[in-house]
C-alpha cells in the first residue's frame, strides 16, 4: 500500500485552519477509509479489490476496505485511485462514474480538501446471476 502510515510526514496533508489556533493534519489513511466507505455505498459496487498478487489470490475482495484505495498528493491536491469489484449485469461505465462522483463529493465535503482526480479501477466482476 502506498498510503503506508509508517512513512510519516509525506503522507499527511496539512490544512491551514481559518481561525489560527493550530494546524490540522489529516492522515491519508483517514482519507482512504472515507473514500472506500463512499465507494461501497454506491450502487453496483459489491466490494473493494485487494492489492498485490498474493493478497488478491487469498482474498479477491479486500478484508480491510481501506486496501482498495490509494491516495496521493499531487501539487497540494488529492488524487485517489479506487479499486472496486462490481456486480455483473450493471452498466459498468455508469457505475464507475457514480463511484467517482460519490468519492469526490464525500472527500471534499468531509475534509474540505480539493480532489484533483478520482481514478476508478474495475478489478473484477461478481457474477450472482448469469443471464
Amino acid at each position: 500500500m502506498r498510503s503506508n502510515p509508517e512513512r510519516k510526514g509525506k503522507n499527511r496533508m496539512k490544512r491551514e485552519p481559518e481561525i489560527s489556533l493550530g494546524s490540522i493534519r489529516i492522515s491519508l489513511h483517514a482519507v482512504s477509509a472515507l473514500a472506500s466507505q463512499a465507494a461501497l455505498s454506491s450502487y453496483g459496487v459489491v466490494g473493494m479489490a485487494a492489492r498485490g498478487w498474493f493478497e488478491s489470490w487469498m482474498h479477491p475482495t479486500a478484508k480491510d476496505p481501506r486496501q482498495g484505495v490509494d491516495v496521493h498528493i499531487v501539487k497540494d491536491k488529492l488524487s485517489l485511485d479506487v479499486y472496486v469489484i462490481l456486480e455483473y449485469g450493471t452498466r459498468i461505465s455508469t457505475v464507475a462514474d457514480s463511484v467517482a462522483h460519490a468519492v469526490r463529493y464525500t472527500v471534499e465535503k468531509a475534509f474540505h480538501l480539493p480532489v484533483e482526480a478520482v481514478n476508478v479501477h474495475v478489478q473484477g466482476l461478481r457474477v450472482s446471476n448469469p443471464d
Binding site: 453496483g44 459496487v45 466490494g47 497540494d76 449485469g89 450493471t90 452498466r91 480539493p114 450472482s128
Partner: protein, 587 residues
C-alpha cells in the same frame, strides 16, 4: 382510482417561469398499434408480449411527463436534481431496443427491455431500474404470457437482483419501493387477483412505499421530500395503470403550491409583448377546482399563470392583453366567490423600470510595476462599480452559485503590470480557488479571506497602492473583523437549519453566512435581519440591492429602513447581484 398521489412538490413550468424552461426530451415515435388512450382496455387475465410492450410505452410516457416533478425532489438545497431525466433516458433506451422487437412472447419482450435499459442506464437510479428489469426478464425466461403467479415471481426476482447490486442497501430508496412492490404482488396473487387488478394493487403499494421513504431515510425527512428514484418507479407503474384505465398520459397532474411560495414580484420581470395587464384574483371555489380544466381555460386568455392555495382561498395570477382584462375575472366568477381583485397596468410599470446597469463606463485603477494591485470577485455590475471606485484594478465575475475557477482568477490579473496582487474572493467557496493561484504565478499574491461582499468592501477601504504587501494585507485583514454582513434571498426549498424553520418561497436572512431569520415579505425579513445585526449599536447601514429589485421598490424599502432607524445613517447602492435581493453591512 388514480387521483393525484400526494407528490411533495409540483412545479408548473411555462415559458415565463423565472428560472426558464427546463430542457425537454423528445419522445420516441408513437407506436402505430397503440389504441387511442381514451378507450379502456378490456380486462384480461394475462399479459402477452404485445400488451407488455404497450404498457411499457405508457409507463415511459408518464415518466417523461412527470420527469420535472421527480427532478425537483432534491435533497440538497441547490437545484441539481436529475433523477427524473436519468430514469426517463434509461427507459427511453429500453424502448428503442424493444420497439424493434415484434414478438408476442412476453419473456422475449422483457429481455429486450432489460438489455436496452442496461445499455442506456444513466445515473444511480437508472442502474437500479435496469437491474429490476434484468430480474423480471430472468424470471419470465421465454414464457408466452404473464399470469398472476409469474407476475409475483418476476417482482421477487427483481427485488433480489436489485439488492444484490450493493453491499449496504440503503432503505428509503427505490430499493425499498421495489421490495414493497414484490410483497404486494405476492399478496395479491395469494388473494386470487388477476390483471388488471394486479397492476392497480402494485401501483397502490408503490405509492404508499414512496410516501414512507422519509420515515426510513433521515436526509429525505430533513429536506421534506420523498425519494426521487422511488417516485420515478411509481410514475412508471402508474403510467401503466392510467393506460389501462384509458386516462391521458401527456398532461402532468398538477398540485397547487401554497400561497406563501407564490412570488408574483418575479413574474413582473417577465412581461411579454401585448400582455398589458396583470390580474390577481383571490377566490373561494364553490366546488372542488378541476385544475386541468382551470389552467386550460386560463391559457386561452393570457400568460404567466400562477395559482396558489391557502386554507380555502385560491389566488390566481395572470398577464392578459388590454381587451381581455375582464375575462379572467368573469371566468372565475362562474366558479365561486371572488373575494379580491387586483389589476395593474404593466406597460406603465415596465416603463418605470430602470434599464439594466451598463458596465461600459466603469474605470478600473491603473497600476504600474512595483505597485500593489487589488482584484475582487464581484457578482454584479453595480458592485463592480463600487469596487472600482475604491481602487481595484481588475474584477472576476462570480459569486454565489457561480464560483470562478482558479484559472479565471489568474487570467484577471496575469496581464496587470504589478507584481504584487491582493485578491478579494468575497465568498467562502472562492477563497480556496484564490489561494491556489499562488502556485501558478510568479507574482506575489495575498488573499484576503473576505467571505462576503461587505467584508470585501471594508477591506478595500484599508487598501493602499504603495507599500509592503504584508503590511497592506494585515491592514485589510483587520478591517474585515469590524463588519457585520447580511444577505437576503429566497429559500429554494423547505428546510430546517440552525433551529430556524424555512418554507420554500420564504425570504431568508443570513448574518455572516448563517441563517438567522425568515419572513413572508421582503420588508418584514429586511427589518428582522437588521435588528438581528444589532443596528441600534452601530452608525452606518449600507444596502446593496440586487437585480431582482427595481429602482422604485429598492428606494421605497430604503426609506422604510431610514424611518425605522432614524439614529443611523442609511446608504443604498445598486449592486446588481443575482440571487440576493439585498446585501447589507452594518458598521
Amino acid at each position: 382510482m388514480s387521483t393525484f398521489r400526494g407528490c411533495a412538490l409540483a412545479i408548473r413550468i411555462d415559458d415565463t417561469h423565472p428560472f426558464g424552461r427546463m430542457p425537454e426530451m423528445t419522445l420516441p415515435s408513437h407506436p402505430k398499434d397503440l389504441p387511442p388512450t381514451t378507450v379502456p382496455i378490456p380486462p384480461a387475465s394475462t399479459i402477452d408480449g404485445k400488451l407488455l410492450k404497450k404498457l411499457v410505452y405508457a409507463g415511459l410516457t408518464w415518466l417523461n411527463t412527470n420527469q420535472q416533478t421527480i427532478n425537483s425532489l432534491n435533497v440538497f438545497p441547490v437545484p441539481d436534481g436529475d433523477t427524473g431525466t436519468n430514469m426517463s433516458l434509461t427507459m427511453q433506451a429500453a424502448w428503442q431496443e424493444v420497439a424493434k422487437n415484434d414478438s408476442a412472447n412476453a419473456g422475449q419482450i422483457a429481455h429486450s427491455i432489460a438489455h436496452g435499459a442496461l445499455m442506456g442506464a444513466r445515473g444511480n437510479s437508472g442502474v437500479i431500474f435496469s437491474q429490476i428489469w434484468r430480474g423480471i426478464a430472468r424470471s419470465l425466461d421465454a414464457q408466452n404470457e404473464i399470469d398472476a403467479g409469474l407476475f409475483a415471481r418476476a417482482w421477487k426476482e427483481a427485488r433480489e437482483t436489485a439488492y444484490k447490486g450493493v453491499v449496504r442497501p440503503v432503505e428509503g430508496t427505490i430499493l425499498t419501493v421495489a421490495s414493497d412492490i414484490a410483497t404486494a404482488a405476492e399478496k395479491a396473487r395469494c388473494e386470487g387477483c388477476h390483471f388488471p387488478e394486479l397492476i392497480f394493487r402494485v401501483v397502490d403499494a408503490a405509492d404508499q412505499s414512496v410516501q414512507r421513504t422519509p420515515e426510513l431515510l433521515p436526509v429525505l425527512h430533513q429536506a421534506g421530500v420523498v425519494d426521487a428514484g422511488g417516485k420515478g418507479l411509481f410514475f412508471f407503474l402508474e403510467g401503466m395503470q392510467r393506460y389501462l384505465e384509458g386516462k391521458p398520459l401527456d398532461k402532468p397532474l398538477m398540485s397547487v403550491p401554497p400561497l406563501s411560495s407564490l412570488d408574483l414580484s418575479l413574474a413582473e420581470e417577465f412581461v411579454e409583448e401585448g400582455q398589458d395587464f396583470e390580474i390577481v384574483v383571490d377566490f373561494i371555489p364553490s366546488a372542488p377546482l378541476d385544475l386541468q380544466h382551470f389552467y386550460a381555460s386560463l391559457e386561452h386568455m393570457g400568460t404567466s399563470i400562477q395559482i396558489g392555495q391557502g386554507d380555502d382561498l385560491y389566488r390566481m395570477h395572470i398577464h392578459v392583453p388590454t381587451d381581455k382584462r375582464y375575462e379572467p375575472i368573469d371566468f372565475i366568477l362562474q366558479l365561486g366567490t371572488v373575494s379580491k381583485v387586483a389589476m395593474e397596468n404593466l406597460q406603465e410599470q415596465t416603463s418605470l423600470h430602470h434599464k439594466k446597469p451598463d458596465s461600459s463606463d466603469i474605470v478600473f485603477r491603473k497600476v504600474q510595476s512595483g505597485q500593489i494591485a487589488a482584484v475582487a470577485v464581484s457578482p454584479g455590475t453595480g458592485l463592480t462599480r463600487v469596487f472600482a471606485s475604491l481602487g481595484i484594478s481588475a474584477v472576476v465575475p462570480g459569486g454565489q452559485s457561480m464560483n470562478p475557477s482558479t484559472q479565471e482568477i489568474l487570467n484577471a490579473f496575469s496581464e496587470l503590470p504589478a507584481e504584487k496582487i491582493i485578491i478579494l474572493p468575497n465568498n467562502k467557496n472562492i477563497i480556496m480557488a484564490a489561494e491556489q493561484t499562488k502556485a501558478l504565478t510568479k507574482k506575489q499574491i495575498a488573499v484576503i479571506p473576505s467571505r462576503t461582499i461587505p467584508q470585501g468592501i471594508a477591506a478595500m477601504l484599508a487598501f493602499q497602492n504603495d507599500g509592503e504587501l504584508e503590511a497592506v494585507r494585515q491592514a485589510m485583514n483587520k478591517a474585515i473583523d469590524g463588519i457585520q454582513s447580511g444577505e437576503l434571498t429566497l429559500a429554494t426549498r423547505s428546510v430546517e437549519m440552525n433551529g430556524v424553520r424555512v418554507a420554500e418561497g420564504q425570504f431568508i436572512g443570513m448574518l455572516n453566512g448563517t441563517l438567522v431569520t425568515t419572513g413572508n415579505t421582503l420588508e418584514e425579513s429586511l427589518m428582522k435581519l437588521l435588528r438581528k445585526m444589532g443596528v441600534e449599536n452601530h452608525e452606518l447601514v449600507t444596502l446593496y440591492w440586487g437585480e431582482r429589485l427595481t429602482h422604485q421598490s429598492a428606494n421605497q424599502l430604503t426609506d422604510k429602513v431610514r424611518a425605522a432607524f432614524p439614529a443611523q445613517q442609511v446608504e443604498s447602492y445598486e449592486g446588481g447581484q443575482p440571487h440576493y435581493f439585498f446585501i447589507l453591512s452594518v458598521e
